[in-house]
């Protein structure tokens, strides 16, 4: 089964003529992921590695009605509008690659998508994949590199870091463990799909037996996810790793008081570990320990 990306995924890339989009489009095509169309205003009629480019998303959909997924890789000032254009055209799943999008723009595009029943992953997401089904975005790099790191199997990985998603996949692959779906949820404070919002999909996914989370300091997303896991009795084993412990000991600087009032004491690597352990999540201390912990969890459920 896998989640979000599967054999039915048909993609439009918004901003396809940009430097990075061109590169990841090629890697997707080489991996066999159908990119049916691209959109760049003013460049309609051109093509990128044989993928036809249109001026608008609606035009692309009119020619390729099978499209059900968009990757947005346009400059930050244009990202909100590009996402809304895709939502408005009826696309129900959007992966936002662009980083440095203003926070209010992110909130507005998420709210707009929610009103129309569209799921967003990102912004600032390198992409995601379901091995042997397809990949979206730059995750794992060129197809031949991608194939070295990602193999099909029973483990879902959700990661706040793009680079460490591939490192984590590679670690599992070297240890003979494959993946159902691997997602870089994006590194920004406000994102379309948090850990907590993706876990229900993984609960329903029969292919996923164990979940691995790569966590980072900052925000309360791990803490809130841990509470959710406990309250909703999430049934699959979760193995989590929190990076950035040294940040806890850095001379941080609070600016104003609002952040402390809004977020309380959440955000530290130490606090995140404690909250997740309290919820029954297996938290490993070093990244390499993810592999044995996953093996042990798999032995318990398979």
């Amino acid at each position: 089964m896998a989640i979000l990306v599967d054999e039915n995924t048909k993609v439009v890339v918004q901003g396809i003529t940009g430097r990075e989009a061109t590169t990841f489009t090629l890697s997707m095509l080489e991996y066999g992921t159908p990119v049916l169309a691209g959109v760049t205003p003013g460049k309609g009629g051109q093509n990128v590695y044989g993928v036809p480019v249109y001026n608008t998303v609606k035009e692309a959909l009119a020619k390729h009605p099978a499209i059900n997924t968009s990757i947005v890789s346009v400059p930050p000032p244009l990202t909100k509008d590009a996402v809304m254009e895709a939502v408005d055209a009826g696309i129900k799943f959007i992966s936002v690659f662009t980083e440095r999008v203003p926070r209010i723009d992110v909130c507005q595009m998420i709210e707009y998508a929610k009103m129309h029943g569209t799921r967003i992953v990102g912004p600032n997401s390198l992409g995601m994949c379901s091995p042997e089904r397809g990949k979206l975005g730059a995750i794992g790099g060129p197809a031949e590199e991608f194939k070295k790191a990602y193999k099909k199997g029973p483990v879902a990985i959700l990661s706040r870091s793009g680079g460490m998603l591939t490192e984590t996949a590679s670690l599992l692959t070297i240890n003979g463990i494959g993946m159902s779906t691997a997602i870089n949820i994006g590194g920004d404070p406000v994102i379309g799909s948090t850990f907590m919002e993706l876990l229900p999909l993984l609960e329903e996914d029969s292919e996923t037996k164990v979940v691995v989370l790569f966590c980072e300091p900052g925000t309360s997303s791990e803490e809130r996810m841990a509470t959710w896991v406990k309250e909703h009795h999430f049934s699959k084993p979760i193995v989590a790793f929190v990076t950035g412990s040294f940040v806890d000991n850095m001379p941080g600087m609070h600016f104003g008081h609002a952040a402390v009032i809004v977020e309380g004491n959440s955000g530290s690597a130490r606090g995140k570990r404690a909250a997740m352990r309290e919820a029954g999540i297996v938290v490993v201390e070093t990244h390499d320990q993810i592999a044995p912990a996953v093996k042990k969890a798999l032995a318990g459920v398979m």
């Binding site: 930050p76 209010i104 909130c107 790099g141 680079g163 591939t166 404070p189 950035g244 104003g256 809004v262």
Partner: protein
Amino acid sequence: MRLKEFESKRILQSMGVSLPKGKLVSTPAEARQAAQEIGAPVVLKVQILATGRGKAGGVKFADTPEQAEQVAGQMIGMQIKGYVVEQLLVEEKLDIAQELYLAATFEEATKGRLMMASDAGGMDINEVAEKDPTRINRVHMDSWIDMHPFQAKELAYGLGLSGKVNSAAQSLFLKLWATFVSFDAILAEINPVVVTKDGRVVAADAHIEIEGDSMFRQKDRLAALGILDRDDNAKPPTEFEVEALKIDKADYRGVAGRVVEFPGSLGLMIGAGGGSLTLFDAILRNGGKPANYCEVGGNPPVSKVYRLCKLILQKPGVKGLAVMTNVFSNSRVDTLARGMIKAMLELGIDPATYPITFRSAGAFEEDAYAILRKYGVKYLGRDVNIEDAAKAAVSMMEGL
């Protein structure tokens, strides 16, 4: 971008918010003159980018212009929270009847914005938030719709304000919200809002943080108010960090920066983002003594990697180099190898004998490994995990 008090107040003033009479000064003589113009007694406040200056001795009062001059003489040049004080804001001393707390900010949990108000304004608002959260009223705003007047009204009555003060407060709430929205702030906080004994409602202190990612549409407006784009730092940057920042800024492609100086002897070129954090943790955990933190990723050009590597190798006390990254997605391994070798050759360092731990994998890894072999550098690939790579770097430094 975090703003100093006087900068935040310039913005608030441009939005019509009432402020205490005040003047920015940088010498004791100017402080005396300011006190004369404003009318003593006055308060003198250091202008630094840190919260909590009051408790650190950065706020003092003066009853006469002469005293203002003398106090300013003590304050200018003093060090508070790592910052050398260069400027003071001299303001009228307010006759305080009540202090309120007011802030507009984002909330990651609700993916939206909110306004917070409390009748417990002042330096201890965090304690209030912890012990009695109900004393802080929170109004969540729609991401698409601005604050409605009725929301300001509800907040004002919620704080127990009445009469003229209530109306002035409502107007202030709407103006603060408008400031937050129109300047793309991620924080606009007035603490305290002072209600004076003669019924004025003024912003006595303010913290505004403009979102760096919105600078493309705010730069000109801020410049018109004399506020120039700059970087935030938890402490004033060291010379080494300033040099590294220049390297990263000189070329927009990719990242070879975010350098933080540490006192150790192991120079680090690590990446990308999450990978840097994980590697740095692993090096510390295994007893390593890093000379710096940094992030290299997002497919930087060789020239950028080379310049950063050269800077790190030249740092006094650096005796070994670890070039380590996670398995790359969108950067090239050969870029790292080329940049590193170029820096070493230029500095007259023999790559074959200098202590190096190189661990990276991904696109163009074969090219990278070929270059390293050519120069006699041993390397580690994806089959050596991050923890073991960090251990190798730490043990390489033993006895050096």
